[in-house]
C-alpha cells in the first residue's frame, strides 16, 4: 500500500545522493584524464599528479596548510574544551555569546574585521595571523561538541567518584576526562578539517605573505580549470576520508556528534 | 447477523505466524476483549481490524461488508492507542475535531459535537490546553473522546490503561464501562491484564500463540477454563495431575496419584484411563484443622502447611499433600482478634465441592 509512495521517496533520495556525489566523482575521474581540458576522455595518466608534486608553490602551500591546521587544532581544542566545560558547569552570559556568534554569522564578517584588526596592530599578515584567526572560529565548534558530550554524561558518576574519596581534580582526571575524550577527539579533528578547509577567513587574513592550499586552489581555478586542480582535489579528498576513518576508529561516536 | 465477523484470518510475518486461523464474531453493543500474553497475536488482530495490517487470508466482515482490504482512513472504526497518540501540536479541541474535519463535517457542527463529547468525558474546561499540559488520565479521556466523536461502528482500544497507575486504572475502568453503556458503541478491547478483562468485558477471547484458546463470558472463563493455558493465565489456579478412574452420568471419578480419589463433573469425550489435570481455584477450597468428611458431595484431603503469605485481608496458605503436591488455598482473615489461622507445618484438612473443580483432558 505504501509502495507507490516510497518509490517516489526513493527516487527523490537517490537523486539527492547523485546530486551530492556525481560532481565529486567527475573531479576524481578527470584527474586521471590525459587531456588539458575537463571535457572528453582521452586516456589514463598520472601526469597531473606528477606535475603537482613538482609544483613548488603547491608544496609550500600544502606545508603551510598542514602547519596552520596542526597549531589551530591543538590550541582550539584546549581553549574549546575549557569553554565547553565552563559553559556546562557555570551560568555564563558573555562566553556562550562569544563562542557561538562566530559560528552563526557569515564567515566574511569575521574575515574583514580581523583584517582591520591585524592591520591596525601593524602585524604582518601571514601564517601567524591566519592561525590566530582559525583558532578564534574553531573554538566554538570544539566547545559545542564537548558540551554536548558533557550534557550526555551522567552527573552522578562524578558524585560517585567524590563519594568514593576522589578530590575534584582526581574526579575530573579519572572520570570526566575519559568520558568526554571522544568529544574532545571529535572536536580536535573537526578543528583540523575546518582549518585545512577554510578559504574565506584565510583569504582575508593571509595577505601576500602566506599561501595555503585553498588559496592556491582558488588562484588556480580563478584563472582556468586545469586537471592539476583535479589531482590536488582528489588527494585532499583522500586525506579527509582517511581522517574520517581515523576518527571512526578513535572515537566511533565522534562522527555522530556532528 | 453479528456486527463484526472474523472468518478464518491468518497473518504471518516472515516465518512467524502471528494470527493462525482465527474466527470469531462480535455482536453490536458488546464489550469484547482480546486477552493474552504479549506475542499472542491480539495486537496484530486489532491492527487488522483497524486496517493497519492486511490478513494473508480470511475475511473481516463489518456490517456484512468484507473490509479486509479497506485502508484505515476509510473504515468506520477508530482506535484508542496505547500511548494515546494525541497530536502534540493541536489543542484538546483540535485533536477531537480532527476526525470530523477529515470527514468534512461543517464547521459549526464540529463545534457543537466537540463541545458535546468534551462534556461527556468531563474535559470542557480543558478544550484549549495542549496534550502536554494534561495529566495521564485526562489524556486518556481525550484519546477516547477523539475516537468516539464521529460515532464509529467499532471502537478499538489497545491496552489503553497500561500507562496509568493502579489507582487511576480502576477509576478509568469504571468510567469505561459507564461510557460504553452510555454511547452504546461496540468496544473491542485488547489487554494482557486478566483482572481488567474480567472486570470490563461481556465476552473474552483468550488468545495464545495466534489462536483463540477460549471464547466465553468472564465467569465461564474463570470457573471453567478449557485448557491448562487458560486456567494458568487467568487468576491463580491449582492444577492437579490425575487420571480418569470411572465415568458416571453426573459425576466422574479421578485418581490423583499418591493422594486418593476425587470426584468431579464429567467431561465430554473423557475415557477411563485418560490423564489430565483437575483445576481448583484457591478460594473454592475449604481449610480447617479438622473438617467433616461425611459429605458425599465433597472432595476431602489431608495435608500440611508449607508456606503462608499474609496479605492483610486474606492469607494464602500453600498446603503440601501426602504425595508432595502443593495446593494453594486462600482464607479471608475474618476472625476478630486473630491475624491468621495457621502457621507453617500445621496439619490441616482441605475440602471442596465436587463441582468446584473442573477436569481438563491432556
Amino acid at each position: 500500500m505504501h509502495s507507490k509512495q516510497s518509490k517516489w521517496l526513493w527516487a527523490a533520495a537517490l537523486l539527492a545522493y547523485a546530486f551530492l556525489y556525481v560532481p565529486l566523482i567527475i573531479v576524481v575521474v578527470y584527474s586521471f584524464n590525459d587531456s588539458k581540458l575537463n571535457a572528453e576522455w582521452v586516456g589514463f595518466t598520472f601526469k597531473w599528479y606528477d606535475m603537482l608534486f613538482k609544483n613548488e608553490q603547491m608544496l609550500v602551500a600544502a606545508r603551510n596548510s598542514l602547519l596552520i591546521a596542526i597549531v589551530t587544532s591543538v590550541c582550539a581544542t584546549v581553549l574549546g574544551t575549557l569553554a565547553g566545560l565552563a559553559m556546562h558547569k557555570y551560568k555564563l552570559r558573555l562566553l556562550p555569546l562569544l563562542v557561538l556568534t562566530p559560528i552563526a554569522i557569515p564567515e566574511i564578517l569575521m574575515g574583514v574585521s580581523l583584517l582591520i584588526f591585524f592591520v591596525m596592530l601593524n602585524m604582518t599578515l601571514g601564517l601567524v595571523s591566519v592561525a590566530l584567526a582559525h583558532i578564534a572560529f574553531c573554538i566554538g565548534f570544539v566547545a559545542i561538541v564537548v558540551r554536548s558530550r558533557l550534557q550526555g554524561m551522567d552527573e552522578s558518576l562524578v558524585e560517585a567518584a567524590r563519594d568514593l574519596g576522589a578530590t575534584p581534580v582526581q574526579a575530573f582526571r579519572l572520570v570526566t576526562m575519559p568520558l568526554i575524550m571522544p568529544g574532545i577527539i571529535a572536536g580536535a579533528l573537526m578543528a583540523f578539517t575546518l582549518s585545512i578547509d577554510d578559504f574565506v577567513i584565510t583569504f582575508f587574513t593571509a595577505g601576500a605573505g602566506a599561501s595555503t592550499l585553498p588559496l592556491q586552489i582558488y588562484s588556480m581555478i580563478r584563472i582556468a580549470v586545469t586537471p592539476e586542480v583535479n589531482a590536488v582535489s582528489t588527494l585532499l579528498m583522500v586525506l579527509t576520508l582517511c581522517l574520517i576513518l581515523l576518527a571512526s576508529k578513535l572515537a566511533p561516536s565522534a562522527l555522530r556528534a556532528e | 447477523m453479528a456486527l463484526l465477523e472474523i472468518r478464518d484470518v491468518v497473518k504471518r510475518f516472515g516465518d512467524f505466524t502471528a494470527v493462525n486461523h482465527v474466527s470469531l464474531s462480535v455482536e453490536a453493543g458488546e464489550f469484547f476483549t482480546l486477552l493474552g500474553p504479549s506475542g499472542c497475536g491480539k495486537t496484530t488482530l486489532l491492527r487488522m481490524l483497524a486496517g493497519f495490517e492486511q490478513p494473508d487470508s480470511g475475511e473481516i466482515v463489518l456490517d456484512s461488508v468484507n473490509v479486509a482490504a479497506v485502508p484505515p482512513e476509510k473504515r468506520p472504526v477508530h482506535t484508542v492507542f496505547q500511548n494515546y497518540a494525541l497530536f502534540p501540536h493541536m489543542t484538546v479541541a483540535q485533536n477531537i475535531a480532527f476526525p470530523l474535519k477529515m470527514a468534512n463535517v461543517a464547521a459549526d457542527e464540529i463545534k457543537t459535537r466537540v463541545a458535546e463529547v468534551l462534556e461527556d468525558v468531563r474535559l470542557s474546561q480543558f478544550a484549549t490546553r495542549y496534550p502536554n499540559e494534561l495529566s495521564g488520565g485526562q489524556r486518556q479521556r481525550v484519546a477516547i473522546a477523539r475516537a468516539l466523536v464521529n460515532r464509529p461502528r467499532l471502537l478499538l482500544l489497545d491496552e489503553p490503561l497500561s500507562a496509568l497507575d493502579a489507582k487511576l486504572r480502576e477509576e478509568m475502568q469504571i468510567e469505561l464501562i459507564n461510557l460504553q453503556k452510555e454511547v452504546g458503541i461496540t468496544f473491542v478491547y485488547v489487554t494482557h491484564d486478566q483482572g481488567e478483562a474480567l472486570a470490563l468485558s461481556h465476552r473474552i477471547a483468550v488468545m495464545n500463540k495466534g489462536e483463540v484458546a477460549q471464547l466465553d463470558a468472564p465467569e465461564t472463563i474463570y470457573s471453567y477454563p478449557k485448557s491448562r493455558f487458560v486456567a494458568d493465565f487467568i487468576g491463580q489456579c491449582n492444577l492437579l495431575d490425575a487420571t480418569v478412574k470411572s465415568i458416571g452420568s453426573d459425576r466422574m471419578q479421578i485418581e490423583i496419584a499418591g493422594v486418593g480419589i476425587a470426584e468431579t463433573l464429567p467431561v465430554a469425550g473423557a475415557q477411563v484411563g485418560q490423564s489430565g489435570c483437575l483445576t481448583v481455584r484457591p478460594e473454592k477450597i475449604k481449610l480447617g484443622a479438622t473438617l467433616p468428611s461425611d459429605d458425599a458431595d465433597e472432595v476431602h484431603f489431608k495435608g500440611k502447611v508449607h508456606d503462608c503469605l499474609y496479605l492483610g485481608d486474606v492469607t494464602i496458605y500453600i498446603i503440601e499433600l501426602d504425595n508432595g503436591m502443593l495446593v494453594e488455598t486462600m482464607l479471608p482473615n475474618s476472625a476478630p482478634g486473630r491475624a491468621k489461622f495457621f502457621d507453617d507445618n500445621d496439619l490441616v484438612e482441605l475440602a471442596w465441592r465436587f463441582d468446584a473443580g473442573h477436569f481438563i483432558l491432556a
Binding site: I105, V200 | H78, F87, H89, Y130
Partner: protein, 309 residues
C-alpha cells in the same frame, strides 16, 4: 569553598573568554567604529593617531574642534543614496531565499526516507550525506565549474535539448543559475541534518492515529508531519540562509559580473578599492540582517517548541 569555586570558574572560562574578546569581540567593535571614519589617503582608514606636525611625536589627532574631519555618517548616507547597494542586498536575499527553498525541497524527502529507514542503515545514510561536505569547499565549487563549463557534458546536453526546440545555446557558467546551483550544492547537508534530527523523533503512532481517524496520505503529511517538523525546517533554513547570504567565493567563481552578492561587494571594498569605512558599513548591514533573521527564527522556533514537545 566559595572562593576556590570562583577561582576555578575563572581558570576554566578565562582563557577562551580572553582569546575570543581579543580576536573576535574587539575586531568586531573596531570594524563597527570604522564605519564612522574616513578612508585613508592610500586606502584603509584615515589614522586617528599620527605625528604632531610641530613636535613629530605620535599623538591623538582628533580634538573637540576638528572631530568632524575624522568622524562621519557619510558612509551610511552613501549606502542609502545609491540604490544599487540596496538592490544588491535585495538580490542577495533573493539568492539565499531560493537556495533555502530548493534545499528544503531536496532535503525533505531524503531526510524523511532516512528517518523511516531501519535503524541499522540510518547512520550510514546520514554519513553519506555529510561525507561530501567534508571535502574542501573550493573543490565542491570547482566540480560545478567543470560541469557547467561550456565544454562540460551537462552544458552540452542541455544546449542540445534547447537546440532541438530552437533556442540558441545558453551559457550556464557565470549566471544566476550557476550561483544558485552551487549554493544549493554546498549547503544541502545543513538542511538535511536538522530535518532528519527532527523527523527521526516523530512518533509513528501519530500517523497511524491520523489515518485511523480518516486522514488520507496528503492530509497526514500536511496536518501532522509538516507542522511537527517546522522546528527542524526553521533550523535548517537558518543554517542555509545565513551563510548563503554572506557568501562571496561562490558568486566570485561562478557568478560572473551578473551574479555578484553582498559578499563580493564587501570583499571589493576591503581588498580592491580599499574603502574600509564603506566596507564596514556593508558588513554592519549584513550583520544586522543576520541578527534580525536569527531573532526572527528564534521567535518562531520558540512558538513551535511550545506546542511540539
Amino acid at each position: 569553598m566559595a572562593k576556590s569555586n570562583r577561582i576555578n570558574k575563572w581558570l576554566i572560562s578565562g582563557p577562551p573568554l580572553l582569546y575570543l574578546i581579543i580576536f573576535f569581540a574587539i575586531p568586531s567593535l573596531i570594524m563597527a567604529f570604522a564605519a564612522f571614519r574616513f578612508p585613508g589617503d592610500y586606502g584603509g582608514l584615515l589614522p586617528l593617531i599620527g605625528p604632531n606636525p610641530d613636535t613629530g611625536a605620535n599623538e591623538l589627532l582628533v580634538t573637540a574642534e576638528n572631530w568632524r574631519d575624522y568622524l562621519t555618517f557619510e558612509n551610511f548616507g552613501l549606502f542609502f543614496t545609491d540604490s544599487i547597494y540596496v538592490e544588491l542586498f535585495a538580490k542577495s536575499f533573493w539568492y539565499a531565499g531560493i537556495t533555502t527553498l530548493i534545499c528544503l525541497a531536496m532535503a525533505y524527502p531524503l531526510a524523511w526516507l532516512i528517518a523511516r529507514s531501519p535503524k541499522k542503515y540510518r547512520d550510514l545514510m546520514i554519513l553519506l550525506v555529510i561525507l561530501p561536505f567534508w571535502s574542501n569547499f573550493l573543490i565542491r565549487v570547482y566540480a560545478w565549474m567543470i560541469i557547467l563549463g561550456p565544454q562540460g557534458y551537462f552544458s552540452m546536453a542541455i544546449n542540445q535539448v534547447l537546440g532541438l526546440i530552437g533556442i540558441g545555446p545558453v551559457q550556464l557558467m557565470f549566471s544566476h543559475v550557476a550561483v544558485i546551483i552551487v549554493l544549493v550544492y554546498v549547503h544541502l547537508p545543513f538542511m538535511v541534518l536538522p530535518l532528519y534530527a527532527n523527523l527521526e523523533k516523530h512518533d509513528m503512532a501519530l500517523l497511524d492515529a491520523a489515518q485511523d481517524l480518516g486522514a488520507s496520505g496528503w492530509q497526514r503529511f500536511w496536518k501532522i508531519t509538516w507542522p511537527l517538523s517546522l522546528p527542524g525546517v526553521w533550523a535548517g533554513a537558518a543554517l542555509v540562509f545565513i551563510p548563503a547570504l554572506g557568501m562571496f567565493a561562490v558568486p566570485d567563481l561562478v557568478g560572473g559580473t551578473d551574479g555578484i552578492m553582498i559578499g563580493n561587494l564587501i570583499k571589493q571594498q576591503f581588498l580592491d578599492s580599499r574603502d574600509w569605512p564603506f566596507g564596514s558599513v556593508l558588513s554592519i548591514m549584513l550583520t544586522l540582517a543576520v541578527l534580525l533573521l536569527a531573532g526572527f527564527a528564534a521567535l518562531i522556533g520558540r512558538g513551535g517548541k511550545r506546542n511540539a514537545l
